[in-house]
Amino acid sequence: MALLARELRIAIRHPADTLAAVMFFVLVAALFPFGVGPSPELLARLAPGVLLAAALLAALLPLDRLFGAEAEDGSLDQLLLCGLHPAGIAAVKALGHWITTGIPLVLACPIAAALLNLPVEAWGVAMLALGLASAILSVLGAAGAALTLGARRGGVLLPLLVLPLAIPAVIFGAAAIEAAANGLAVRPFLMLEAAMLALAMPLAPLAAGSALRGD
């Protein structure tokens, strides 16, 4: 789709946005060993939750520009007039956000996992859980970004709206990573996370679409 191609091309021309999110993620993970002190076991115990929380916060960084930039330069008006369904626009923007932010975070996950002393056998599951959680954040975030579009402190309002909704993703994602680290079954947790994504994927763009139209 043309809109997605344009999203990706702009992201390639401006790699700083993607890089900022990834650097933020790695840096937050790097701060924990300093804060917790010389205790590898404690660090490994904290790792799943820290990974998820850091990744979600990092993915939030570019979200407030998701529709903000389009609205400022008038592109949003053109998109709404070109015959695309507003929910379709929101879905494509969410997908674009996941590709330009979520996937790089997943790729950076092993670095952060190593910094947090997460057992190597859990890295694969950690990447999976992070991928699902960031996808959930992308679709919920698109709805949040559309709702806060035009609000004066949208950048502050957005995390307040989106993060509480993403709490279940953190719970099940972290549980999956912890299960993998302890050699337990990870399937149920990942399935629950995927179910959340399946629920959010059709609903959030619809909400975002009507928010875009309603302005």
Partner: protein, 200 residues
């Protein structure tokens, strides 16, 4: 019976608790041009956004060929071209890439559109290097991508040099000769012979 193509009846618009205009009625037939004039804040831009379906009317109706425009906003949007205050261009993309994106959504010939506004030599330059007049020309070039029956233009000539304004003349003329309508808000004279004026 005369076919009055595009008709607004008793339109009213509220913006932030303030009545911008009310009881506004007009009709435009194919090939006609309508100039919206009035002081700053008179509601020219609001009216254009309302006609494009981007803004909900507080009251009144808008019909085109007897069909209600507000009933199917997506279909209405596909029949018109709207040029707002902002140029809706992505600074990091080149002129061709910007136009090609719109062409892929609505169809049209990118090279011809660039040519019509004398932008062919700048085609592969990122838009962030353009002057504001060049950006405006590129935004206008979107109009000639593919024919649409209604053009809603908000101050189309802001920042344009005299030669570019002249270049608009034949573009408008071809559009109107093909039965297209131009509704433009402007403070500057536009090359639209025989245009009616609606003072807000």
């Amino acid at each position: 019976m005369e076919v009055s193509l595009f008709e607004a009846r008793e339109l009213a618009c509220w913006r932030a608790e303030r009545l911008v205009f009310a009881g506004l009625s007009f009709s435009v037939s194919p090939g006609e041009a309508l100039l919206l004039t009035g002081a700053n804040g008179a509601g020219k831009s609001s009216l254009l956004r309302l006609l494009a379906g981007l803004l909900a009317a507080a009251e009144g109706s808008l019909s085109w060929d007897g069909a209600d425009c507000f009933a199917d906003l997506a279909a209405h949007g596909a029949k018109l071209r709207y040029l707002g205050h902002q140029d809706a261009l992505k600074p990091s993309l080149t002129a061709v890439e910007n136009l090609r994106f719109h062409a892929s959504l609505q169809g049209g010939d990118v090279a011809a559109a660039l040519d019509a506004f004398g932008l062919a030599p700048l085609a592969d330059l990122p838009v962030r290097l353009f002057s504001s007049g060049q950006k405006r020309r590129l935004a206008l070039a979107r109009l000639s991508l593919r024919p649409a029956r209604l053009w809603l233009l908000d101050e189309p000539t802001v920042g344009l040099d005299a030669a570019s304004v002249e270049r608009l003349g034949p573009v408008f003329a071809t559009h109107r000769a093909a039965g297209g309508i131009v509704i433009a808000a402007t403070h500057l004279p536009l090359p639209l012979p025989g245009a009616r004026e609606l003072r807000l």
